[in-house]
């Protein structure tokens, strides 16, 4: 029973989402608020279990060093008490610093060294030539400070002289990459809608043969 009601309710909610495309309406607004509320509830439940499982429980078992993050967490709320509000910067600084460290370790090998290494290819066939020149010119396209164009002001920096060929090659590679990535993703994106239509017109209004 609850499942039957649920299935029809699901159908209505999906239609409410689609209705956004055609006209502003209450159905979408209610669905949106219901969803934002649920998502926030889920985040709060998860957050609490993180504090409990990673902080409070081990603390009770004697891992006293966990006082540090717990105090930092509480300090976030110092901003509501004016005389101590500057203390709220401690946890902010901690989160930024740790995230900066994590970012560097995440990109420096996988995105920088490994990628540069992978581009060192013998240019003995067309594919490798395109790969090396395409990657290098894309990188060159983004140069911010042109060499040999000092003091001519910011505007002049747009003209790269002999570098124009490289820039155009870079631009062409980027455009081809963007276009083809876009095209590659179309199938996955369309399939989301196909699946919802199969649900609406298969399970709720049985039109589609199983």
């Amino acid at each position: 029973m609850a499942d039957t009601v649920g299935t029809y309710l699901s159908g209505l909610l999906i239609v409410a989402c689609f209705s956004y495309l055609f006209k502003e309406n209450r159905a979408f607004t209610y669905a949106e608020h219901l969803y934002v509320g649920f998502a926030a509830a889920q985040a709060i439940v998860l957050g609490w279990s993180n504090i409990k499982e990673m902080g409070l429980d081990p603390l009770r078992q004697g891992k006293f060093i966990l006082v540090i993050p717990l105090v930092l967490g509480v300090l976030l709320y110092a901003r509501y008490y004016k005389p101590l509000s500057h203390l709220a910067r401690f946890p902010l600084a901690f989160m930024m610093g740790a995230a900066a460290g994590v970012t560097i370790t995440g990109v420096i090998d996988a995105q920088l060294v490994a990628q540069v290494k992978a581009t060192m290819l013998p240019m003995t066939n067309l594919n490798n030539v395109v790969m090396v020149l395409g990657t290098a010119s894309t990188l060159a396209f983004f140069l911010f400070i042109p060499i040999g164009k000092k003091a001519e002001g910011v505007k002049a920096a747009n003209g790269f002289g002999a570098g124009n060929l490289v820039r155009n090659l870079g631009r062409a590679t980027i455009m081809l990459a963007f276009g083809s990535s876009y095209g590659y993703t179309v199938m996955a994106r369309l399939s989301y809608l196909v699946a919802r239509l199969q649900f609406l017109f298969g399970r709720i209004i049985p039109l589609i043969p199983d």
Partner: protein, 283 residues
């Protein structure tokens, strides 16, 4: 009707485009047209590997997807499971994502009876375990990590697990996912026991597993909705992916058609008005 035709071609209202898209999808869904499919080598390899397994072999089917991507993963899973059941393979379902259990339950409630599959004897559903990579690495210590099934029945009481010592008794692992779970199976279970792996994944999964396909650690891969459709055809099982592929093809054609129409209007307009192309902002 003040604006000339070539300007109207460039400004079809969005609601009209959206309604057309729904129609273009619905017609082939209701009346499949049987448009041609490309057959990819990876799907064929996956099919051939599963098809060659002798009756009674154990498949370990891992489920790590949720409703955001189930449009791609669920048809793959259904086609695979129907193929297992057709060939009399034993199945162990293992959800490594919270929502994954729901899809295994759907097999139990709707599809198992079609092939006369008995729970406990022919297939078993394991409980969800949190922890991502560690929930997969933990399988190496099978009996202490996984004492009972999703209903709380001790695994040693289930016929399927009579004589099961550990993950070495599994004949193939099939991770069905939109995330990196497949890689964890490669680096933990394939590395430890050499258990072969067949991937079923969403489109972005392919680049990740490419190197392992090349090295042979992954025996085959079913990628995206097209992979599911190809598998349905190879295995000769019914499913919704094949019908959906007609809709996909029509959708792609609609988009290409719209691009052509827009450009026709744009280029003609440019010839008429000289160089007054509109909307030229872009970095």
């Amino acid at each position: 009707m003040s604006s000339p035709w070539y300007e109207r071609l460039q400004s079809i209202p969005k609601p009209a485009i959206y309604a057309t898209l729904i129609l273009v999808f619905l017609v082939p869904l209701i009346r499949p047209m049987g448009l041609p499919l490309l057959m990819s080598e990876n799907t064929r390899k996956a099919y051939e590997y599963i098809d060659a397994l002798p009756e009674g072999s154990i498949v370990f089917h891992s489920i790590a997807f949720n409703p955001a991507v189930d449009a791609e993963n669920w048809p793959q899973m259904l086609a695979l499971v129907r193929h297992y059941m057709k060939n009399g393979l034993k199945i162990i379902f293992y959800p490594t994502m919270q929502e994954g259990g729901m899809y295994a339950e759907r097999i139990r409630s709707t599809y198992a009876a079609e092939y006369g599959y008995e729970y406990g004897e022919d297939y078993v559903i394991l409980p969800f375990k949190a922890g991502g990579e560690s929930a997969i690495a933990g399988l190496k210590d099978f009996w202490s990590f996984m004492p009972s099934d999703v209903d709380g029945t001790p695994l040693k009481d289930l016929p399927l697990f009579q004589g099961f010592t550990d993950m070495r008794d599994v004949d193939v692992i099939v991770p069905c996912t939109g995330s990196s779970d497949g890689l964890f199976y490669v680096s933990h279970l394939n590395a430890a026991y050499g258990t072969p792996i067949i991937m079923a994944g969403t489109a972005p999964v392919l680049p990740f597993i490419g190197p392992f396909l090349a090295s042979g650690q992954v025996k085959g891969a079913i990628i995206g909705l097209s992979g599911a459709a190809e598998y349905e055809i190879l295995a000769g099982v019914p499913g919704q992916a094949t019908g959906a592929m007609d809709a996909q093809s029509m959708g792609h054609l609609l988009i290409v058609g719209l691009v052509l129409i827009g450009n026709l209007g744009f280029l003609y307009g440019k010839r008429v008005n000289g160089k007054n192309g509109q909307n030229g902002r872009r970095s």
